[in-house]
């Protein structure tokens, strides 16, 4: 029996005030989705990203605001650096760095959210299950 691809999203509350707007279209696209609200994308640490991928996620997305719109000023900038660091880690251990994605979304922008959902669905189709996560 095939298992659904699981995507976890760590999403800034400013960028994504309504997590259902993300989870519903992803699940309609055939994925299992979990959206974890964050006070700011800069609060997401590298170890959280790696633990989430090792534990439950086939794909992980960190969602923040555009850098110029971040309420914590440098939050999105720092998030992008941490995501890049975690992606380097994934490459080093033989996993596709593309399993970890990021997006910078203007607050509650439906258009940007729709585009990101399309990116995630496409990435899920191309990468499939994560061989590094906890066995199902």
């Amino acid at each position: 029996m095939s298992q659904k691809i699981t995507v976890v999203l760590l999403a800034c509350r400013q960028a994504v005030p309504d997590p259902a707007l993300l989870a519903i279209p992803l699940e309609q696209g055939g994925l299992k989705a979990r959206v974890i609200p964050e006070p700011c994308s800069s609060k997401v640490e590298v170890f959280q990203m790696l633990r989430t991928l090792a534990g439950e996620a086939d794909l992980l997305w960190v969602v923040g605001c555009p850098e110029a719109a971040c309420q914590l000023v440098e939050g999105s900038f720092r998030m992008a650096k941490r995501v890049a660091h975690a992606q380097d880690y994934l490459g080093e251990i033989g996993l596709e760095p593309q399993r970890l994605g990021m997006a910078q979304i203007p607050a509650d922008s439906r258009e940007a959210l729709t585009a990101m959902v399309g990116d995630i669905l496409e990435r899920a189709r191309s990468l499939g299950a994560n061989p590094g996560r906890t066995p199902r």
Binding site: V46, F47, L50, Y89, I93, G94, L95
Partner: protein
């Protein structure tokens, strides 16, 4: 080195290596998750646990991590070399491996930038040089400087390769500092050759303090 062991403990240290973002609690968690995934990609499932203490180089602090290691096949320590050895001493029957390369005694100069500021030479000159160490911060370790290679306040090693941020000339920094302190006349005294026997040229070093001993 650790792939033949099934039950691994990752041991962190929450003081110096945590400040260096190299071996504290967060880095232990990162490495544990990354190792777990790397082994799975290679078709192996490992039992990996984590333990972090405040100072892996001090035996009293080690008790928690020693206890956590009791059912482990091997330990991967993210402490400095001193911490790795202190832990290995307490675990005579368990292999202990270093997860880091310990580089130097440094200063956190800014977020994400650490500088070597002390070489542990055992014979400190900082009182003479305005608190700026020529042994560690001058590329030639000159005791009387600067040399002729400084350009625009920078050390000539910047010409050999791109270094960001650029390395300043330590001796020009010493001059500026002493000038600001009104003590530039100190530079009129030629520093004699240094007695390196207090440094690592003397073999394994030790400090004995009878007043601290039991």
């Amino acid at each position: 080195m650790v792939k033949k062991y099934d039950r691994l403990l990752l041991a962190g240290c929450d003081t110096c290596v945590a400040e260096c973002a190299a071996g504290g609690r967060k880095e232990v968690a990162e490495l544990a998750a990354a190792l777990q995934m790397a082994f799975r990609v290679a078709g192996q499932e490992k039992n990996i646990t984590e333990a972090t203490v405040d100072r892996q180089c001090v035996h009293e602090f080690l008790l928690d991590v020693v206890e956590s290691a009791q059912d482990r096949d091997a330990v991967l320590s993210l402490a400095c070399g001193a911490g790795v050895q202190a832990l290995a001493t307490r675990l005579p029957e368990t292999p202990v491996f270093p997860a880091l390369n310990t580089l130097f005694i440094g200063e956190t100069a800014e977020r994400g930038l650490w500088l070597e500021n002390c070489r542990g030479c055992g014979n400190c000159m900082l009182g003479l040089t305005g608190g700026i160490c020529p042994v560690s911060r001058c590329a030639k370790n000159l005791l009387n400087g600067p040399c002729g290679g400084a350009r625009n306040g920078l050390c000539e090693i910047n010409l050999a390769k791109e270094i960001i941020p650029e390395v300043p000339c330590a001796w020009l920094q010493i001059y500026d500092r002493l000038l600001a302190l009104g003590e530039v006349d100190r530079l009129m005294e030629i520093a004699p050759p240094k007695d390196w026997s207090y440094g690592d040229a003397s073999g394994p070093r030790r400090v004995v303090r009878p007043d601290q001993q039991a």
